[in-house]
């Protein structure tokens, strides 16, 4: 992990959280879907990051989100889930010896792998966020539909972002 990777990730963190907090926070589709693209930061952290560091970064990212969303604990828990899902998914789908790519981005891993990876991570994260927010199972269907619609919304935006930066890098 060189200093360039660290710099890029710090830069990405600020940009994503800035966009999330000051732009997407105001974007709401009939109170049903809110995209959370800040999790892209956690999704594309380098492969070789130690688990502890991954969890700590996820924790503080979630905490920052909670501070701005006034939902202390909700995004923190969801990011912990997200980190676990990320570790599990990578461990079953990527050969440990073949970590020739620095990070699991769209450009490095291909559209098929990345979209599945993003979809699973996003759904788990959103599930935790919306259920912790509702905090009851009586509105199960409503919460589940919010999760699904928001998840698709988030996935589309993340893919869009990834395509944009992937192309620019290739150039």
């Amino acid at each position: 992990m060189n200093s360039r990777t660290i710099f890029i990730n710090i830069f990405r963190w600020f940009v994503l959280l800035f966009v999330q907090i000051f732009l997407l926070r105001n974007l709401n589709y009939y109170n049903l879907s809110t995209p959370f693209i800040y999790i892209l930061f956690i999704l594309v952290l380098p492969f070789r990051i130690p688990n502890l560091l991954l969890f700590i970064l996820a924790f503080f990212t979630g905490l920052t989100m909670d501070a701005f969303y006034d939902t202390l604990g909700v995004h923190t828990s969801a990011c912990a889930v997200l980190a676990l899902v990320r570790i599990l998914f990578i461990s079953v789908s990527v050969n440990r010896d073949a970590y020739d790519e620095p990070e699991p981005s769209l450009g490095n891993m291909g559209f098929k792998w990345f979209s599945l990876y993003a979809l699973i991570c996003i759904l788990m994260h959103h599930l935790v966020v919306f259920f912790l927010e509702a905090f009851k199972f009586s509105e199960f269907v409503y919460t589940l539909s919010r999760t699904m619609i928001s998840g698709i919304f988030t996935l589309l935006i993340i893919l869009l972002v990834e395509f944009t930066f992937h192309n620019r890098k290739a150039n």
Partner: protein, 278 residues
Amino acid sequence: MRNLWIFISRYNAFFFFIIFFGIGIYLTLKNNSYQQSITINSTNEVVGSAYERLNVLKHYLNLGQVNDSLAIENARLKTEILALQNIDSNQTVKVKDTINQQQYTLLAAKVIKNSISLRNNYITINRGSTDGIVKDMAVISPQKGVVGFVQEVSEHLAIIRSLLNKNTAISVFIKKNNAFGSLVWGDGNFDYQKAYVKEIPNHIKVKVGDTIITSGVGSFPGGIEVGKITKTGISTGDSFMTLEISLFNNFSTLQYVYVVKDRLGAEQKNLESKLPNE
């Protein structure tokens, strides 16, 4: 110990997850009042329903004890009923009238002669002046309904002017709206189950089925249920109307009556007699 350490380090992601997710949930519960209230509520629900179940069980276990106490209570009440039915003992029942702050005493008496088919009916009871009965005392039925007034008293007997007598008039209310009226019988009606309430003002709204109670003016304690309205709006041509009611008590099967001793009756009569006659 070494194996445990290897196990933990191999599955470190899971343990990190437990720690950080735990912190997240803790923060959620501790700092968000909504989730906090929900948790406390559901906890209470759980505790509450557990207590409820326990209580049902407890009730069931205590059934024997409850049965015993009920049996004892039954025995006591039966003894009381027997004592009340024993007319020749000088058993009296006290009624606390909280409306007028008067104390009425009921004296049970047995009907020894009764008539219902005459124009003016009288009832003879086995109580007289030795039992403290004086003229114009009110007489009521054991369950519901009024009977009449004491007309004549001898040493051991008394004659009651029944409600079924054209000289008897009892002051009554319509329970619903306290409209004032006068309960009478006769005037072409010789059915012992019917009576009339007269002098109800025309503007009072009444319905069939409304209950008539005694007003408490006069010798009768207030609030004794007399009967139910069966027919309304019998016009008398002036500003009052007459109601037909069916009486709650059945004069044809009257066996026991209560004579009402009014502690303040004599005092009231004495006081009212001081008014100048108009």
